[in-house]
Structure formats: structure tokens, C-alpha cells
Symmetry: C3
Subunit: 266 residues, 3 copies
């Protein structure tokens, strides 16, 4: 474990003690699950997207998360305004550039947001490769590339942008360029439930309100891995998995997190 | 019990017999749960928000509900047009001014809607205080004030606007200024599930289509209290609570409601 | 069984083998469930609605589905652009004209989309009657007419537009004018869960990516009937039904589908 790293169990304790307000600008598909994930884990989500108020709202939040899933021009303008307001107020923010490889509109929007310097950048392998200017094998909203194939791109993005970069997949990879780790665990049922990744980005925002960005990204990845592992045991398919996953997020204790062996430093 | 009051069990019977169409203009986060709550309890929800059609739709509904959760200018224009059309047709409507204390945009929008005289006004304590022009301790979408602290504001709003005012919390308070009641019950898991309050406003719309406004607000509060109590017993966390809550809404009989001791008149 | 018909069990095998990308433009209420239904059954949904990108996205999908539930002008423009792009690229698309009988705006929008010649048209009886220019007894989003009452209208629409037409209800009816079938099964709990019909249209898109339109519509109806039947047995109300239904969609084998007696050719 690196010096000065806040372990996930301590991060979880801080999240539940402070119940931070998290300003979420996310896609229509993910709003319900993303809010419930944050509530279950211990945060206080608020979905606010109007250009008329995002600059007033982001500064009062503990963190901001921006997800480009169901993008459109008024939402993109609000995302840019919210990121600017967060930066001005010292509020950390998380970028989740959904399917940025799929269309030129989506690629350009992701680059515009990336230039605003998120504290954490989360994506699947195809998304991270596309952000780094490389072509991958993504299809629709799904990655067509392995996490390993995107590790160099993740390190390069971390170096260039100053963001912590998390590449999610069966085994996640996370780096701030100088430090790097892998997080294993979770469930094969996770990709069968929509908006799990988007919700993970929201949870990274919750943790980013209480611990530094790398520690926050790791805490969210580890908590998802443990809740996914517990959720799989308590479920029979993707429907009951989602239910059991939320129950697990709320029920997992810091002790369980510290005993779980999901995290490996590289 | 006041004279001429329709008790919740009778209101529930009427709801299920008439299956009223409820025109809902609600936020993106709540749409799924709000529709499922109304369907489970016995109503027929329809989510319709375009300016091009709300004035055609509201008059054919039994009630209209307006929730400002994920507000934006085109939606606000549609909310105003729908409220006007409902008023013109004698259709009762419910206002749920989400987080009106959080930004100037949201505060102004809530006041514009309140001037259109809803039959029922529902909010948490911080929202009701803010509507009455008082400052509270709300944060994001969550109340930072106790229900008790907002009772005077609720009575004043009821007197000034003619609306039935419901302040929701661990113990709810509801008044039309001349009459007042408290509703206890429910579950600590309710605030851990997103959009429960928004869905309650939708359910008040369902009841407002079949009984007078005070009776409708009380019926929705009592049904939520009972379904929350039953749902807690059948759940292990917030994920399974939401599932069990919907099952309970559909399964609760009028007899169970009349036997439950959630309601106290003041 | 007609010549050259792909039975539902074979269609399901193909769906799971190819995991087709399905471009969904659907309503806010249905997005979560529609995505989860497609994921559980075996497809790869992507919700993309901006005019700025739908024409780039539809051609890379295996199918497109358009649902008019929460309609507004920018969405309608995107629906038309997406349908045109799908047609230009030979991508089959599904139209679900929600509540087209309820307002003039909704009726006109549905006709504009119908003129773009969907491969499959899905609606409840009141919607199909309205599309055929007949007046029914629909209320809000719910059908007020029996499936039988809409069968002639369905045949006429199939003849006039070239679409496969599916009328859904307690027993579904599906026709391409020369062939026709009924699909029985499912659960009385299905109408108590919001967005089940919208999600069925999405699933028809998934199957339309791998088998011809009539075969795709039948496969989706039969898979819904079987998952509904299994879901009812594993549930206690509408909340647990939705969960069990998703589990069933993921767990049903092609063998179970071929043994189930839901389909009757006329």
C-alpha cells in the first residue's frame, strides 16, 4: 500500500459519517440505479442538469459526477458549466465518457470535458483507448477490448491530464501514473444489469468527497467488487442480483472491506 | 376523525374500483418508481411532459401531479401549462417542489407553480420552510429540518394558498389549516431508496382523483406508512425493501388499512 | 408452423450467440427496464437519442426500436432521422406508438413515423385501432379495447404498410397479413409493472437483428409469455414479479421455449 493511502474501509467509514452531497449529471438510464447505489453506500445524490442552476449547485456539493450516456447539446452545455463551477470551487469531479468511440459527436464531447481536468476518469477499455486517441473494438456501449490492452493508454492519460484513471472490466486497473493497482472480484452478472458502470462512477464521486482521488477510485472499485461477490451469492439472475447488490452495498461493514482480498498494488 | 372525512380504507377501495388516470410530470429519477407505485396501489399513471400536448392531456386525467426534481425550462413551461389546463377543467393537482431551497432557479420555479394553486402541496420540512419564505437547513435534495419545525409554515401555507399541505418525514404532518393530523409508521429504509417521496406525491394524485384533497393526502401517507412497515419486515436492505414495498402496496387490503394505527388527528 | 419460420427457440439461440447491438430510442420511464430486458435476454442495448448522432449510430446497430412514450419535438426529430438512417442502411426497426390515441400531437407523430415503414409495429389494441384510423376506448396509456377488436385493423395495417403488426394483451395477436398467430401465457402481474410493453418492443428489436420480422415478433411474444409465466410462480406481487421476470428472461433455455405451448397459428 502506498504511503498516505486511505484504505477502502476507512474511506467507507468517512463516507457514512459525512453523507456527502454528490451532484450527478448522468444519463436517463442510470439515474435510478446511480442514485440508489449512492444512497445505499452512504452518500446523498442529487440529479441536477439545467444550465440555469448547475453553476449554483456544483459548488455546494462535495463532488460532481458527469456521465455522457444519453448525451444531447443542452446537457453537454450544462456538463461543461458544472465542471467549470466545480473546478472554480475546488470540488472534485468524475468523468464517465460513455461510448465515446461510437460517434464523432460523442468523441468530441468527451474530449471537451476531458480538457476540463476531472479528478477521476472512469471508463471501460474501449472508452479509455478512444480517449487516448487509439482505436479499439468497442460496440455500442460495450467494451470490445481487454483491460490489459488499455493499461498503457490509462497511464498516458493519467500523465497528460493529471486525473486518476480507472479502467473497469473483469479485473479493474487504476492508476495516477506513479501508482497503479488492480481490483478483482465482483460477478459475471454485473454486465447483465444496465448502468452498473455509470453507478460506479457516481460512487467514485461519493468517495472523492471524503478522500483523495486515487483512494476514492480504489474504494469504489473495491466496494463494488465486494458487493458484487456478495450479490452473486444471494441471487438467481440479473434481476435478483441488482436487488442483492444494493442490499450488500448498504450492509457491508468496513471490517468486511478490510478483510476482502480484492486489491493488488502493482 | 373530522366530519365528512373519507377514511384511508374507503379511499383505497375507491382507487382500485375506478383506476383513475393520473397525469404525472415528474423527474427522470422518479419516473419508474412513481409509475410502479401508482400501478401497484391501483391507479393508471401516464407520464406526459411535452408543451405540445399537456394541455390536451391534463383535462382527461383524474388528477395531475407535478414534481420539479430534474427541472429545466421546457419542462417548467409544460408544468405551468398543465397546471393551468387542470385548473380550467377542475382537475385537482399536486405540487412536489423538490429541493426548492437549493438554487434561485428552483426557488423561483416553485413559487410560480405555487401561485397556480395546487390542491395538495407535499414536501419535506426544508422544502415547506423555503416555500413559506423561511430559511432551513436543507442540503441537496434532503431535508435538514425536523417536521415539527415546519408545522407553522405548513399551516400558514395552507391558509394562504388553500392547499392541503403535507410535510413528510419520520412522522408526517398534514393540514388544511382548520384540520391537522400526524401519520407515523413506515421504515428507516425509505430514505435509502431514491424517489420514494416523489412517488408518494404521485400516489396523492391517484387518491385526489377519487376523494377530497385532505382525505387523499392522508390516504397516501397512511398507505405509505403501512406498506413501509410491511416492506421493512420482508426485506434485508434498501434493494429488497423497494421490491417488498411495491408488493405490499398491491397486497394491502382496505381492512389492513383500517386496522393500522398510523393516523392521529390533532 | 409456416414454411421458413424460425421458431422462438432457434431465435433465442441466435440472439445469445450474436448479442446484437440494439439502438433504442424509448421513453424515460422505460429506459431502465427496457435495457435490462434486452441484457437479460441476450442483446446489447444502447440508448442514444440526440439528433446530432442518431444517423451515425443507427447504421452500426443490428436493429432500431422507437417508442413514443415521453414524446417531445427534439426526440421526434431524432426518431425520424434515426428511422431514415436505419432504412438507408437496411437496419430493421420497430415502432411502439404509445398512447397515440390520447392527443392530436401524439397521433400525428405516430403517423409520421409509420410512414417511414417499420419492420414491426407493436401496440395495444387501442393503439393499433387508432393507427388504423378507428376510434377505440383507450385511456391514458392503457388499452380500453380487446385484442380481438383490433385484429382486422392489424391485418389492414400489415397489408398497407408491409409491417408485421403485433397487438398485445392477455392473448397477443401477430400478423404479416398472410400469416397470423396468437400467443398466450404471461401473468396478470404484467400490466401492474410499468414499461413491460415498451420493453417487449425493445426485445422485438433484439430478435429482428437475427431473424426475419414475423419470426422476431413471435419470438419476443413467446419469450415474454414464458418469462411471465415463470415470473408469476416466483413472485408475491408486482415488485417481486419484475425481479423474477428478469431472472427468468436470463435463465430460460431454448429447450424450455420449444416445449412451452404459448403459440398457435391461425
Amino acid at each position: 500500500m502506498p504511503d498516505d493511502f486511505t484504505p477502502p474501509d476507512t474511506a467507507l467509514t468517512r463516507l457514512r459519517e459525512s453523507v456527502p452531497l454528490v451532484h450527478c449529471i448522468t444519463n436517463y438510464v442510470a439515474m435510478d440505479l446511480a442514485a440508489n447505489v449512492l444512497l445505499a453506500a452512504g452518500g446523498s445524490p442529487a440529479m441536477v442538469h439545467a444550465e440555469e442552476e448547475v453553476a449554483d449547485f456544483a459548488p455546494i456539493a462535495g463532488a460532481l459526477t458527469i456521465n455522457t450516456g444519453t448525451l444531447s447539446p443542452p446537457w453537454l452545455r450544462a456538463m461543461e458549466a458544472a465542471a467549470d463551477a466545480a473546478n472554480g470551487a475546488g470540488v472534485p469531479w468524475v468523468l464517465d465518457p460513455v461510448a465515446n468511440f461510437a460517434t464523432p459527436y460523442r468523441r468530441d464531447a468527451s474530449q471537451r470535458l476531458l480538457q476540463r481536468k476531472p479528478a477521476i476518469l472512469r471508463g471501460n477499455a474501449s472508452e479509455i483507448l478512444a480517449l487516448a486517441g487509439q482505436s479499439g473494438a468497442g460496440k455500442g456501449a460495450d467494451s470490445g477490448d481487454t483491460v490489459e490492452a488499455a493499461e498503457d493508454a490509462a497511464r498516458a492519460l493519467a500523465r497528460q491530464t493529471g486525473a486518476v484513471v480507472a479502467v473497469t472490466g473483469p479485473v479493474d486497473f487504476v492508476t495516477d501514473d506513479t501508482r497503479a493497482a488492480r481490483v478483482a472480484g465482483g460477478s459475471d452478472r454485473m454486465p447483465k444489469v444496465t448502468a452498473m458502470g455509470c453507478s460506479q462512477a457516481g460512487l467514485m464521486g461519493g468517495f472523492a468527497a471524503v478522500v483523495p482521488p486515487l483512494d476514492a477510485a480504489v474504494a469504489a472499485l473495491v466496494l463494488f467488487a465486494e458487493a458484487g461477490t456478495q450479490g452473486e451469492r444471494a441471487s438467481q439472475g440479473p434481476g435478483s442480483f441488482r436487488v442483492a447488490f444494493l442490499d450488500a452495498l448498504a450492509g457491508i461493514t468496513p471490517e468486511e472491506l478490510s478483510n476482502a482480498a480484492h486489491l493488488t498494488w502493482l
